[in-house]
């Protein structure tokens, strides 16, 4: 676009030199003198009362500097104000295999491990629940005494005339869908280094997506003022939501450091990452959708049960997103939603990429495909005739400002050869289409207040260095690069001139964190605001010094010039010197708060779902199904993503392709497998994330709808594409072999069983329904 020299360019990420040389530092790479090794003792029981803990033998072991239990930090906490139900170490009960019971800090890992073995815990095993639907029937010994029948939260929403909508439909289908449990699988296991200083200050370096919430929680649990605590986020080796709430090791390291008066580092093993979890819950979706003969959706009803594990975490938000984000993608006149978040004796689930939408979107897009087939319509046409009349407010109160979904559908139809190939592929091959969307940050903060969601400071001093102080958290998605690009663009200087100091609570103003795809929209807008303020200050200084009207000045390519003539042309450095002459070091501030009209309706639970803007995605997957083995090979995925404006196309491509990849893993091969509350595959060998060999060519098409409120038109790119991948694959499998698998992951066993079942039906005289459209 004309006028932008840095925005829209495929620039390498600013932190890439450290990442490709191995010199960039992640939490576990940090070491300080006197540092101790921390280890955590985990419960071997899924549900057990803790009668007593004897730590005396562990404490007596030479080299052990601290042993801590629930007594050392009894205050409960949780990411949501309504869900403070976990303590860093179990105080009364352990609630899952892997729950945290005690921890030690010792001079070596070997001594720490030995000390764990010396801790004697007297457990009284309790009845345990591993299945959400059974857990909801529990009559006593609830996992949390104040959560009757183990229901953490339930929500019931009705918008529009649902019964009338179904009555007016020509085709109605109802199906039950199942989605297995998914872990983020970030390559970096969580790690925290907590340093207790002689002045009773606590500094915590942690692999977190949310330094500010960690800061706040450490203050609450350690009963120290926030002003005494500093949280610093080093490089983070992937998040995807797994580091977006307070993880037990973060508090454990702090409590151990305080008790031992020494620096303590804890790094999780991969098994402990699965214990800490916070991933995508097992989800049961009972979905009913009606469409007219023309394909127009007339009503939708969904009942969703999520198996949330033993603690609240983000649970109520997850189950609310599942309902709210039925809206804001298609024009749905009537919507009923019943959502249940249920507690079980397993690791707590939480936010994972595409938080709350993914499993419901799988169900929705698969059922829409089924309805299209029933109505004899092209699935792409069914999407086309349900587009929102954006800008608009949806039936459930979500404000849609920019809407590139129609273009996304056209782009993937064209690129994939949908019109030419579909229905003409050889046996065993098929193609499927699906759509998805996601928020560009939540319009309402977790802790309700009117405080801006992001504040950014920029300082310019005599060295003419432009230093941006931002609390936003780079976790690999390009947060730092995005902010540098925006500031450089506004100031008309090279990105290399910008220094970014990020995510250090002593230095940087508050940003809520890297979750719900909020960073580009919110931190980006705050950077834009701060940079514009700074630009004004610089130009005012130049105007004053050179006695030219400020409105005639412009900053371009490291020069300050007069717009209409050549009266003035000075370098950026001279301009800074001029501005400093009158004011001293320049300091500019920028903020972002979502507008009131983006914050949604007033019903209970209305706070979750509203966003200042939504991204959109459409995808076509092509698959080959081996009828003998049931094995599904994905041959190709074409994904079009409406990110508003691609501030950096390399980063947008990477986010979209990465989302599709992760969706493909969930669709076909990833699942946490449980046996009586014990995770049977707590390793990367057995929890099978796709390698290069299973990953097909993934093509990303960027669609730019230019959001009216996004920074330079941008909105989210990091999550919205994940959800479409799963139903696109499922729909392609149906196209290939004429069976629908409504259970994730779609394993060869399930495919074979479905093929056999269909063959059995075809063989009986009453059968013969279904089959290839």
């Amino acid at each position: 676009m004309a006028g932008h020299s840095i925005i829209g360019k495929p620039l390498a990420m600013t932190d890439s030199p450290g990442k490709v040389t191995g010199l960039g530092l992640y939490a576990d790479d940090l070491a300080v003198p006197g540092m101790l090794c921390g280890r955590i003792l985990h419960s071997p029981y899924p549900h057990a009362r803790i009668r007593a803990i004897d730590t005396s033998a562990a404490e007596a072991l030479p080299g052990v500097k601290a042993v801590v239990t629930g007594k050392d930090a009894p205050r409960p906490y949780g990411i949501l104000p309504i869900g403070h139900d976990e303590c860093v170490f179990a105080v009364d009960k352990a609630r899952y295999i892997g729950d945290n019971v005690a921890a030690v800090a010792a001079t070596s890992p070997e001594i720490a491990e030995q000390a764990l073995e010396l801790i004697r815990v007297d457990y009284e095993a309790l009845p345990a629940w591993f299945d959400a639907e059974k857990s909801m029937q529990a009559e006593g010994e609830w996992i949390h005494a104040d959560r009757a029948r183990n229901i953490e939260k339930e929500y019931h929403h009705v918008f529009g005339d649902v019964d009338g909508g179904f009555a007016g439909a020509d085709f109605v289908r109802e199906q039950r869908y199942f989605a297995g449990e998914i872990n983020h699988g970030a390559m970096e296991p969580h790690s925290t280094l907590a340093i207790w200083a002689p002045d009773a200050r606590l500094t915590v370096h942690s692999s977190t997506q949310v330094p500010y919430y960690l800061h706040r929680t450490l203050s609450e649990v350690c009963e120290m003022p926030m002003s005494q605590i500093r949280v610093i986020k080093p490089l983070v080796g992937g998040g995807f939501g797994g580091k977006s709430e307070i993880i037990p090791l973060e508090v454990a390291a702090a409590v151990l450091a305080r008790k031992s008066r020494r620096p303590v580092k804890i790094t999780y093993t991969r098994e402990e990452v699965f214990f800490a979890h916070r991933g995508r819950p097992i989800t049961i979706v009972e979905l009913k959708t009606g469409i007219t003969r023309a394909g127009k959706i007339s009503a939708v009803a969904a009942r969703v049960i999520q198996d949330g594990g033993a603690y609240c975490g983000y649970g109520p938000v997850t189950v609310l997103y599942s309902g709210a984000l039925l809206g804001a993608i298609y024009d749905i006149p009537a919507l009923r939603y019943d959502g249940f978040r249920v507690l079980t004796n397993k690791p707590a689930c939480g936010a994972m990429r595409g938080h709350g939408t993914v499993n419901v979107r799988f169900a929705f897009e698969a059922l829409l495909d089924e309805l299209a087939c029933a109505a004899g319509l092209d699935p792409a046409d069914v999407r086309r005739c349900n587009m929102l009349p954006a800008p608009c407010i949806t039936v459930n109160g979500l404000r849609v400002t920019s809407y590139g979904l129609p273009e996304c559908v056209e782009k993937v139809v064209e690129r994939s050869g949908w019109n030419d190939k579909r229905g003409k592929l050889p046996p065993g091959k098929g193609m499927g289409l699906a759509c998805s969307h996601y928020v560009s940050g939540a319009a309402n903060p977790i802790i309700r207040s009117n405080m801006p969601h992001t504040t950014v400071h920029i300082k310019v001093d005599r060295d003419a260095a432009i230093t941006v102080y931002s609390g936003a958290s780079e976790i690999g998605q390009g947060s730092d690069t995005m902010q540098v690009q925006i500031v450089a663009e506004v100031l008309g200087v090279a990105p290399a001139r910008i220094k970014l100091i990020a995510a250090d609570t002593d230095l940087t103003p508050i940003d809520l964190g890297s979750y719900s795809s909020r960073v580009t929209f919110m931190a980006g807008n705050a950077c834009l605001d701060a940079a514009r303020n700074l630009r004004t200050q610089i130009l005012e200084g130049v105007a004053q010094k050179y006695k030219v009207p400020v409105e005639t000045l412009d900053l371009r390519e490291s020069w300050v010039i007069t717009l209409d003539d050549s009266r003035l042309k000075i370098t950026f450095d001279d301009a800074i010197a001029a501005a400093l002459e009158f004011r001293g070091a320049l300091v500019a501030k920028g903020t972002y708060a979502p507008p009131e009209e983006a914050r949604g309706g007033k019903h209970k639970g209305a706070g979750v779902g509203p966003s200042p803007s939504y991204s959109y995605s459409a995808q076509v997957a092509e698959v080959t199904v081996d009828r003998e083995t049931g094995h599904v090979t994905v041959d190709r995925i074409v994904a079009a993503h409406d990110c508003g404006r691609a501030l950096n196309p390399i980063c947008v491509d990477g986010q979209v392709i990465g989302s599709v990849y992760m969706g493909m893993g969930q669709a076909l091969q990833e699942e946490m497998v449980w046996h009586d509350g014990r995770l049977m595959n707590p390793s990367l060998l057995e929890y099978r994330m796709p390698t290069t060999l299973e990953t097909p060519p993934i093509e990303c098409i960027i669609v730019e709808s230019m959001d009216p409120e996004g920074p330079f038109g941008a909105k989210e790119a990091g999550e919205g594409s994940l959800a479409a991948t799963i139903p696109a694959i499922a729909n392609a499998i149906y196209d290939a072999i004429g069976v629908r698998i409504n259970s994730l992951p779609i394993t060869p066993e399930k495919v074979l069983a479905a093929i056999r079942e269909k063959e059995k039906q075809m063989a009986t005289p009453a059968g013969g329904k279904g089959g290839r459209p």
Binding site: A12, L23, M187, A496, G658
Partner: protein, 173 residues
Amino acid sequence: MNKELITLTVNGESREVAIPPHKLLLDVLREDLGLTGSKRGCDDSSCGACAVLVDGVPMLACVALAVSYQDCSITTVEGIGAPGELHPVQSGWADAGGSQCGFCSPGFLISAKALLDRNPDPSLDEIREALSSNLCRCTGYMQIYEAVKLAIERTQGGAAPVETAGTAAAGGR
């Protein structure tokens, strides 16, 4: 446990360390030699983030006893190239988006360098095969293939790097 004094040749330098005989090469590199580039992403040799070159062959440092590698030449990611003098595989990685979170990058870079050292012009299938023992959770691998292709171009043709923030950082706009 008693320590043994051993000598390792890492990134062309001879380094003496006193370590218990059971200590893993990865831990020696990270804790005793200050080379934290090699990462631990799993506990069962399944992620590849710890890969190093041993006499030019990629190996997992998380399952190698350091004492067994005294007569070998070990190269870690830090030994491939340093800032300002990046190896083409590193600059390709940076410019093509091969690293997002970057945690897997050291292992991938080792595998990619080993591939290009033995086969300077691999096909896409050969690249996929060679990188199949490294896991990446961020990229979906497409930009990693682009990174390897860029490295090949830069090695072969001496093609000028595309304009990036990296080059902007070096030379200004």
